[in-house]
Symmetry: C2
């Protein structure tokens, strides 16, 4: 399936409410536990998504539109949430994520991107040449990779509790495929 | 983490709204496509969850409480949704799932299960002896395994669209771990 901007926006617009429905006011045993040393909790994932809204997706889209391949993106800080989420309640982070996502999508819609725009090229610090279309598709898939991760982190907490059924539960066999 | 009935209910109660937020009125390119021959779409997963509400979780809980290990559970039909969802809109399935889940949780709460009750044993047709506690923990983890699956099915649709970023997206490396 090719990238389609309306399909991308239709998913991006839903993620804040999906995370609200799943996480807001849930007991902290589900939201604050991780999968072991060096891994993230659902709380940390929300902080990571916030940092992406601030520094990754729309800032990079604007670099592509303004500078093309001549200006390499700033590397993304995958550990920033340890600093930026400090002392904040999960409910506060969910509100912050919803507000930032909404502002970013308003800005994206206002760009009125044409098919030609979507084909414009930029430069990723590790991946090299990428297109605006690939960046926006990745924004969506990045939401899904973290929904995939959160469901796995939460299922992990019941790894022992499910007893012999763990053999039937795909999520219990998922190692994450990437760190964290 | 041990099984805790309140933690289990807190998650089970949220799944209908999580699926609503994620799937209702989403373009069908996200909800009706699968990961290839023999795999499910998000639409089919919702039908499978409905069939579980009707024939798996609470019916098995009641068998354990009434018959203990003397009555083996009916095997669960993992392909029933091909028949039971036929011709139904996704919005209809989401409503049906929400209604059944709500009724089942009302019934679960009304049982007022004690710690002793949770330790009661039943007989699974393939896994052998299991406890009521394990069954209820599995109900929750089963929701999570299908949320994990839905996020993977949807991400799969953008496998090509994300270009070189696919190397960074764990969900694109996930093979599912179990069929389907």
């Amino acid at each position: 399936m090719e990238h389609n901007l309306q399909h991308t926006i239709s998913l991006l617009a839903r993620t804040p409410e999906v995370l609200n429905s799943l996480l807001r006011e849930l007991p902290e045993v589900w939201t604050r536990r991780n999968e072991g040393e060096g891994t993230w909790s659902a709380y940390e994932v929300v902080g990571h998504l916030i940092h992406g809204e601030r520094t990754d997706w729309m800032p990079r889209a604007k670099i592509i539109l303004q500078f093309g391949e001549t200006k390499t993106f700033e590397p993304f800080d995958r550990r920033a949430q340890a600093r930026t989420s400090q002392g904040k309640l999960l409910s506060h982070l969910l509100d912050e994520f919803a507000r930032l996502r909404s502002e970013n999508l308003d800005e994206l819609r206002a760009l009125n991107l044409s098919t030609d725009d979507l084909g414009r090229r930029g430069r990723h610090p590790a991946l090299g040449v990428v297109t605006l279309s690939e960046l926006l598709a990745t924004w969506t898939a990045h939401d899904l990779t973290h929904l995939h991760q959160i469901s796995r982190i939460m299922a992990h907490q019941y790894r022992d509790a499910v007893g012999p059924w763990s053999a039937y539960l795909g999520v219990m066999q998922c190692g994450g495929h990437s760190s964290p």
